[in-house]
């Protein structure tokens, strides 16, 4: 069975680019595409994807809030953030919301494919630039620290 993937990003051209990359690999099938947070939650409930690739900066509901809501409706989905934001603030909040991984958009295909495979098998993956915020090699989700600013 190929891994069913939900793509969430407000830029259609990026969704199509990702779809093309993933579907060139026979292990993946893109089951749905969402252009907003609420749409992602709805489509996840309907399609129960194995993996959701989730943008953060979206109008209305951001990807971190969408992750939390999506996981309530489809707990078996592994959510991987795919974003331009590399700050500790976002990484920690994404992990707290239940994300199993965090990839930066300057990642390449060679990083994306194994990251999805790992997350789908229950593992976690963080791009090298952000791994330090969650404790590299730490199997447990990071606990937010006192230094952390409230979500704004």
């Amino acid at each position: 069975m190929p891994t069913g993937v939900l793509l969430v990003d407000d830029h259609a051209i990026l969704r199509q680019a990702l779809k093309r990359l993933l579907e060139s690999c026979p292990d993946f099938v893109v089951v749905a595409e969402a252009g907003s947070g609420p749409e992602a939650v709805e489509l996840a409930e309907k399609h129960r994807p194995d993996v959701a690739l989730m943008d953060i900066g979206m109008k209305g509901m951001n990807g971190i809030e969408a992750t939390a809501q999506l996981l309530r409706r489809s707990p078996q989905t592994a959510v991987l953030m795919l974003t331009v934001h590399s700050s500790e603030h976002y990484v920690r909040h994404a992990v707290k919301a239940g994300a199993r991984g965090y990839l930066l958009k300057d990642a390449v295909e060679e990083e994306l494919v194994p990251a999805i495979q790992l997350a789908q098998k229950g593992g976690r993956y963080f791009s090298p630039a952000v791994a330090k915020y969650v404790g590299e090699g730490d199997p447990h989700p990071a606990v937010p620290t006192k230094r952390e600013r409230p979500q704004g």
Partner: protein, 215 residues
């Protein structure tokens, strides 16, 4: 002969996907990929592509100034801007820099392909959401703030160094990146600050943010 394309965007994953999309059409071939505006200028000079697809927000040199510099080194290239910004400010400046088209990232594959084909023939293509901005904004901008922006006074080299400084690079780092001496960087820095009428590093950064140069 297939259309030879240069892709410039700071996100590798988007470049790779776009390459895959474009190369599924027999009449397109991607000859180079650039991750920054400065890289795009160098690669355009080297490859003289038919079309350059250029993101607006890029490090080292923003896509709009990169467009102007690409066209000076490779006048045969048709530049198509690929951007997330709908604002008139970006669209009009892109056109003034010489771009033949402007496509939004919320557009779809079919639109991008059509846009590339159109600009390659020398035509213009604008996503529907920005086309009106072009018509309304162009004349207005020509009269007013274009002339007023002191950025227009900078040389090509000063524009690159301005953005590199604003991104937090030291004189030494800039000298290494551009293969020039620290002394030359310092001279450029003084001259560009004079032209922009900024008097401190903080003011320089702020002015670059205001001009939309910082990603």
């Amino acid at each position: 002969m297939p259309t030879r394309i240069l892709l410039a965007d700071d996100h590798a994953i988007l470049r790779q996907g776009l390459r895959r999309i474009l190369e599924s059409y027999p009449d397109f071939v991607v000859v180079a990929e650039a991750a920054t505006g400065l890289e795009a200028v160098d690669l355009a000079e080297k490859h003289q592509p038919d079309v350059a697809v250029v993101d607006v927000g890029m490090k080292e040199l923003g896509g709009i100034e990169a467009t102007a510099q690409i066209l000076r080194r490779s006048p045969r290239t048709a530049v198509l801007i690929l951007s997330m910004h709908k604002d008139e400010w970006y669209v009009v400046r892109s056109v003034r820099a010489g771009a033949l088209g402007y496509v939004l990232k919320d557009g779809v594959e079919a639109e991008l392909v059509r846009a590339i084909q159109t600009v390659q023939r020398g035509g213009n293509y604008f996503s529907p959401a920005v086309a009106r901005a072009v018509q309304e904004g162009y004349t207005r901008l020509k009269k007013s703030d274009a002339a007023a922006d002191r950025y227009e006074l900078l040389t090509e080299r000063e524009r690159v160094i301005y953005q590199l400084l604003a991104e937090g690079n030291s004189n030494k780092e800039i000298a290494n990146r551009l293969n020039i001496s620290v002394h030359t960087v310092e001279t450029h820095r003084q001259r560009l600050m004079e032209k922009l009428q900024v008097h401190s590093a903080a003011e320089l950064v702020l002015s670059a943010v205001r001009r939309g140069l910082i990603v």
